[in-house]
Amino acid sequence: MRVYAVVAAGGFRRYATYRIETAAGVFTNTVFGFILAYTYVALWDERPRLGGYDMPEALTFVWLGQALLMTCVMMGGGFEDELIERIRTGDIAVDLYRPVDLQMWWLAQDLGRAGFHLLGRGIVPMVLGALAFDLALPGSPGPWLAFLVSVALGVVVSFAIRYLVALSAFWLMDGAGAAQIAFLSGLFFSGMLLPLTLFPGLLGEVARVLPWSAMLQVPADVFLGKHTGWGLVRVYVFQASWAAVLLLVGRMVQSVATRRVVVQGG
């Protein structure tokens, strides 16, 4: 266990060294936050209470999306690029000899990274958004804590999906295609483009039960106090189930894939 804590701390520190990149990222998140917020204002001006949100809630949703974009890696591009590269070059053979579990090692690293991104890329856009717009921020610490738990579960789901994407490189060699499809699904089905409660009919029902909703839709609703009591437990179970299932599938795929590693050599 201790080794994973060290790896997670390393993941945190690693991203903390890119200070200019973090500042540039905060700038980008803020710019996109403003653009999206204005489109939401236009939409909610026409249809107040659309999707069950009032205007401040809808705007909070926008800024939560920007704050969690990097934490839950809705657009892809985290450890998986590195893992794909290691699979492609055959370096993965060395990793498999190490006395640590491959999946847990990367998960620990990714949790450290997520922790940094939540602080480094999340807080400032949220504060700027709150200064420029009227947001629905929880007044008591309860929803904030509930939100953090939900975010942590969302990060694990996000990791599990990206781990599968990376493993696809064992078969495809070049992971770009799979990564792109994952990025698209993440963007669309997480609620990043539009809250999933606005998706009509069957599309909406399907979107809300897919794993990507665990990355933004669920944490945002927890933040906005839409899930309390048993409802909160229910969404936690929803997130945790997806995390468990996807991690398990990842392990299975990994064991099949590592039998192929000999073919590629190292």
Binding site: I20, A24, F27, T28, Y38, A42, L50, Q180, I181, L198
Partner: protein, 289 residues
């Protein structure tokens, strides 16, 4: 487009890194590097197909989002879906062209950081041509295709009273828009000479600008519209010419004649970006690695 953007840079290479490679050589080099990346891309045809379709779909999701919005409303900021489709398609096509030709500029920061930029400097070929062609991604045709399709839809469905002037303005708008976005890419590249890890800032103006222009100016704060008209003149990519084509009043009370300025603004932007690039290249100090 490339011509306008690269012209001042050739001069820069000539003064800073003599002997000055020709203007023609810049083009030739760009073509050769692009050819190399095309062959490399085709080494994994399945992956190329997936990424091209993905590139198409990624941008299509933007428009799907707008369509989902219109499932709940009839107009956004006073504009119909067809009118927004025209704005969206014009910006998407112009941005797609710039992204195809210059989209690799955001990798410059990484090259400065890891020292591989030095390799480009010793080659007798304009640096800008090398950086712009680096990892040329044909999959970006997906974005252009998507932009053109939505533009076509907007042009057919929106209520437009066509005149000769409007018909001439349409292709001018797309080409000028591509040059303006291309200039932003180059200026962003120049900025990365100084702030190496700041490619994200460039994305705010390119991808962010594209997203902004997909929606009508009426939904944004006046100051924001002023900013993208007079400071970073993205409004000339589509807002001003497209609103004229739609027969709408231009934002900020600008006269109709302004709608015909995009080629002039594009030329000014390209020159400015060229100068910025030249300054950036001069300021560059190798890491020595």
């Amino acid at each position: 487009m490339a011509e306008a953007v690269e012209a001042p840079v050739t001069e820069a290479s000539g003064t800073v890194f003599a002997p000055g490679p020709g203007f023609v050589e810049g083009f030739r080099a760009y073509g050769l590097i692009v050819g190399m990346w095309l062959r490399s891309t085709m080494a994994y045809p399945a992956s190329f197909l997936m990424t091209a379709v993905g590139n198409f779909a990624a941008t299509a999701f933007d428009f799907v989002t707008i369509m989902l919005m219109f499932a709940h409303v009839d107009a956004l900021g006073g504009y119909t879906l067809a009118e927004i489709a025209l704005l969206y398609g014009a910006s998407g096509t112009a941005f797609g062209l710039a992204d195809l030709l210059m989209g690799s500029m955001d990798r410059l920061g990484r090259r400065v950081r890891d020292g591989t930029l030095d390799t480009l400097l010793v080659r007798p070929v304009p640096v800008l041509a090398q950086v712009a062609a680096d990892r040329f991604a044909l999959r970006r045709l997906g974005r252009i295709t998507q932009g053109l399709l939505v533009l076509g839809y907007g042009l057919v469905v929106a209520d437009i009273e066509w005149t000769v002037a409007k018909a001439v303005l349409l292709p001018l708008m797309l080409l000028s828009g591509a040059v303006i976005f291309g200039a932003v890419f180059v200026a962003g590249g120049a900025f990365q000479f100084i702030a190496q890890d700041a490619s994200q800032v460039q994305n705010s103006f390119t991808y962010g600008g594209n997203t902004l222009l997909q929606y009508p100016p009426t939904i944004f704060a006046k100051d924001l519209v002023r900013g993208v008209t007079f400071v970073v003149p993205l409004a000339f990519v589509n807002w001003l010419p497209a609103l004229y084509i739609l027969g709408r009043d231009l934002p900020l009370g600008l006269p109709d004649g302004v709608a015909f300025l995009p080629p002039v603004v594009a030329a000014v932007c390209a020159t400015g970006a060229g100068l910025a690039w030249r300054a950036g290249l001069r300021a560059y100090r190798s890491t020595g690695s």
